[in-house]
Amino acid sequence: MAALPNLFISDGDNVDVFNGSSLNTNFISTNSAAGLAVGVDGTLYAVSRDDAQVYSYNAMTGALTGTFVPFLGSTDPGSVQGPAGMTWGPDGHLYIADVTASNVHVYSGTGASLTSLGSATLDQPTHVAFNRTGQTLRRG
């Protein structure tokens, strides 16, 4: 059986990494880490609850490579106010649950704000995920 890929864990002000045998509890230092997501190119994205920004990191070294989604202000609809969980979608967009604004922000693959999804029933979302209906398609 193949080895499990590294597991990244939001752990207070750090993002830890577990490589299957050892744990690095100081892989990434950030301000109150919340959601994590790994892009198709292997880049690690972490959203800081305190900074309300999404940062990108080299998933192998933990080195900061940039601010993917900056905080634009508390009144800017393109800014996440209370980031929680996030995930990449099959459309190449990043989806971030916002517990403060009670919606889900959608960002392009370059970090541009696209839209916010919400409804009268969406109440302080903490987690987002896509199902996997399209995966089992063709077997050789």
């Binding site: 207070g12 892009g39 198709v40 392009s108 903490t126 995920a129 050789g140």
Partner: protein, 220 residues
């Protein structure tokens, strides 16, 4: 010819339960304090999906914490019950190995942990310990939904050239039984997360039971 596929749907967990996006807004998918089956969802924390399509919801309520499996319109099984052990769960993900991974805190030790389970809740093991207050998790592999639209699985001794959709890429994430004889397999497996841009994917002789995940480039 690549057949059309169902588009993956976005789900959000909130105070009302599990919501499903219809493209423009969220509508209720699983209401909290309901369930309709043998189990009731009280305080959902996270939702995750297995490769076989089952839905798993982590309930972190004080009196009924556990992992519920949702099929059809009811919770038919509580696969993990945390109500009788000193573990406060936080978040749930399904790993690329189709196992359940739960972060939380062990009250006996006061330390954070990640525990893993088979999809039926058996085989509990502490994968990681010594954490502080673990919450969200992600594996160093692309999000499963981004790997749609296809999975190409090579049966034993099936090999040859497979067409890719225009602009498609291939990444091999999980060799079930990589054969040491298959040079093409070994070459690709050395870079399990590297995206390639061939027009076809050639799988060598002996490259059997190798799971190749096909996906289209993002449209960002």
């Amino acid at each position: 010819m690549w057949p059309s596929i169902a588009r993956d749907k976005l789900f959000a967990v909130d105070n009302n339960g599990v919501e499903q996006s219809n493209g423009s807004e969220f509508v209720s998918y699983i209401e909290a304090i309901s369930g309709g089956g043998a189990y009731v969802l009280n305080v959902p924390s996270s939702v995750a999906f297995s490769s076989t399509g089952d839905t798993f919801v982590l309930d972190i309520s004080g009196n009924s914490p556990g992992i519920l499996r949702f099929t059809g319109s009811t919770f038919d099984t509580q696969v993990v019950d945390y109500s009788h052990i000193d573990f406060i769960p936080s978040e749930l993900v399904v790993g690329p190995d189709d196992k359940l991974y739960v972060s939380g805190v062990d009250l006996d030790t006061g330390l954070g942990e990640v525990r893993d389970y088979n999809l039926d809740g058996t085989g509990e093991a502490v994968l990681v310990s010594g954490l502080n207050n673990p919450t969200y998790m992600a594996f160093a592999a692309p999000e499963p939904s981004t790997l749609s639209p296809a999975v190409l699985r090579c049966r034993p001794r099936r090999h040859g050239e497979f067409p890719l959709p225009p602009g498609g890429r291939i990444a091999i994430l999980r060799p079930v039984h990589p054969s040491p004889r298959a040079e093409s397999c070994r070459r690709l497996l050395r870079h399990p997360h590297r995206a390639h841009r061939p027009r076809t994917a050639t799988l060598g002789v002996g490259c059997w039971a190798l799971e190749c995940w096909m996906f289209l480039p993002t449209r960002a």
